[in-house]
């Protein structure tokens, strides 16, 4: 049985990775999961300089989901490249670094610094973080800047580049086509949906940042729809995510057209979710007579 996939040049032994920002730098989850069972690890969004992040409260639970407004707290690319990657590289699992910034130059700077760092197998460009005022959101909703960022990153790195799309747009397919044209090697979707929760007793928004990003099972139908639509229009491999809790959820994305899947919020609920999903996909393939995972990718369009 073959479960290995090629995500735009990143070779994964199975299609399961972790969603950026939900799995730290991986090592936090070592007491619960054998990290070597993962297809890849995507680490927290990294910016040129360290960032302190947003004032708390940073999260609030919502029906079958949660809002987060972490605000891209991270130690900066220097420490990621110099201190964290050497430890992660030892695992022998492909590491994909999620990169973010306030300007096109920021993205290019982080990408350049990570080029050639041992263990880094690819970059995921977060043009869609809804929690950073100056940055993300504009890049993520305007195809022109998305194209600019993609080009800038591609021009300074030899690594495979995945562009992560925001669902908070009118024309997701148009955005996908634009960044594909600009040279992206793969697309990942979805980032979080913009949301607000009001505390009815205090009569104020709960989050320090007011708005936050909605993730978890609540958004899964929206995420599967994104994969479904983009798969029909764009030939790049897709990394699907958004509310995946179980192997069956992951299979929804794969059948809709995702080559690989990322597990995010589920890690908080079940720290073993990633590995259980790897195993569940294998069981499904065995029970349903599939010998290669590639047979399943996009099958719901054809079956």
């Amino acid at each position: 049985m073959n479960t290995s996939v090629n995500l735009g040049g990143i070779k994964m032994k199975n299609p399961v990775t972790t969603a950026s920002g939900t799995f730290g730098f991986g090592l936090e989850y070592q007491p619960y999961v054998d990290l070597q069972r993962l297809g890849a690890i995507i680490v927290k969004g990294t910016t040129p300089k360290p960032r302190a992040g947003n004032p708390p409260p940073r999260i609030v639970e919502t029906p079958s989901g949660m809002l987060n407004a972490i605000g891209l707290q991270n130690p900066g690319v220097e420490r990621v490249a110099g201190e964290i990657m050497p430890r992660l590289a030892e695992l022998g699992v492909p590491v994909i670094v999620n990169i973010a910034g306030d300007t096109v130059e920021d993205y290019a700077l982080v990408a350049r610094r990570l080029d050639g760092v041992p263990g880094v197998a690819g970059l995921e460009i977060n043009i869609s973080c809804p929690n950073v005022k100056k940055g993300g959101i504009q890049f993520g909703s305007d195809p022109r800047t998305a194209v600019e960022v993609t080009r800038a990153v591609k021009s300074v790195t030899g690594l495979p580049v995945i562009v992560k799309l925001s669902p908070n747009v009118t024309d997701l397919v148009g955005m996908a086509e634009a960044v594909a044209e600009a040279g992206a090697d793969a697309l990942s979707m979805i980032n979080t949906l913009l949301g607000v929760v009001i505390d009815v007793d205090r009569r104020r928004p709960v989050l320090g940042n007011i708005t936050g990003g909605l993730s978890g099972p609540a958004v899964r139908p929206v995420a599967v729809r994104a994969v479904w639509q983009v798969y029909r229009a764009v030939s790049l491999p897709i990394l699907g995510m958004g509310g995946i809790m179980t192997a069956r959820d992951a299979l929804e994305f794969i059948l809709a057209g995702a080559t690989a899947v990322a597990v995010g919020t589920a890690n908080f609920v079940n720290p073993r979710a990633t590995v259980e999903i790897v195993e569940g996909i294998e069981t499904y393939m065995r029970e349903n007579g599939f010998s290669d995972i590639s047979e399943l990718v996009g099958l719901a369009h054809r079956a």
């Binding site: 004032p55 940073r58 639970e61 029906p63 079958s64 949660m66 707290q73």
Partner: protein
């Protein structure tokens, strides 16, 4: 090291209305746990409620391999938890940095307000084990006599307990911090505190004025509980100067009193 276990529920009680105490069997967890640490508990099978709930470890019996938690029902997670009287509980732990005990901290005062008493009982178990029950003063605050927690158990461990209630129905009538004020006159060596935010803020202010060191257990909304998501930011003063966010789940929930920025 922290574990993820399906732990069998071995006991259930409601010490005061709206507060539940659940005992479960998790020998590895009991062995590894220290006072002030917490467990991260799944509350329900579906996706609503979704996230685990952090609950301090209230007591452990390492011999029996059991752990107790004690919690107030405030929302849908704790309401679900309070209904679990048998079966398996999905628990991660022990998590976080707990209270530090030891030689230099024996002449201490332990201050608890409301449900904040929950983790302090485990601390008192440890202090009793270390043989310093006689040197420790325990101050417990509650809304009224009927809502006082851990008083009898604490006395049974050999501690002297002073009580404060908001309505004066037991002990001192007024906030428990007024008792702490008195105790601070006696120059205690260390203070441990857990309780609602206004109480902790007041305690930290008093310790600063009095120049007495201490530790407080703080609460912040958590997702992962293991340091990965950066949800549980607590603003602290850095020793090196300046302020920063630390993760309540791994750098806390117990912080030095002088660190916390309220």
């Amino acid at each position: 090291m922290s574990q993820l276990v399906q732990a069998e529920i071995t006991g259930h009680a409601e010490p005061v209305p709206g507060v539940s105490r659940i005992e479960f069997y998790a020998p590895g967890l009991a062995r590894a746990a220290g006072p002030g640490q917490f467990v991260h508990v799944r509350c329900g099978e579906g996706s609503d409620p979704l996230l685990r709930r952090p609950i301090s470890i209230h007591a452990v019996d390492r011999q029996a391999g059991t752990v107790k938690i004690m919690f107030q029902v405030v929302g849908k997670g704790t309401a679900w938890l309070a209904r679990q009287k048998k079966g398996l509980l999905d628990v991660m732990g022990p998590l976080g940095r707990g209270f530090t005990t030891g030689q230099t901290r024996r002449n201490c005062v332990v201050v608890g307000g409301g449900i904040g008493a929950a983790p302090l009982y485990f601390l008192l178990q440890e202090l009793a084990r270390e043989g310093c029950a006689r040197q420790v003063k325990v101050l417990l605050g509650a809304r009224n006599a009927g809502r006082l927690l851990i008083k009898e158990e604490t006395e049974r461990l050999g501690f002297a307990v002073r009580v404060a209630t908001d309505d004066g129905s037991a002990g001192h009538g007024g906030p428990v911090t007024e008792l702490l004020s008195e105790e601070l006159q006696a120059n205690p060596g260390f203070i441990y505190a857990c309780g609602p935010v206004p109480m902790l803020r007041a305690v930290c202010g008093m310790l600063e004025s009095a120049g007495v060191p201490g530790e407080v257990s703080v609460e912040e909304r958590m997702a992962c509980g293991v340091g990965a998501c950066l949800a549980c930011a607590c603003r602290v003063r850095e020793a090196a100067g300046g302020e920063n966010y630390r993760r309540t789940c791994v750098d806390g929930p117990v912080f030095a009193a002088e660190e916390v920025v309220w």
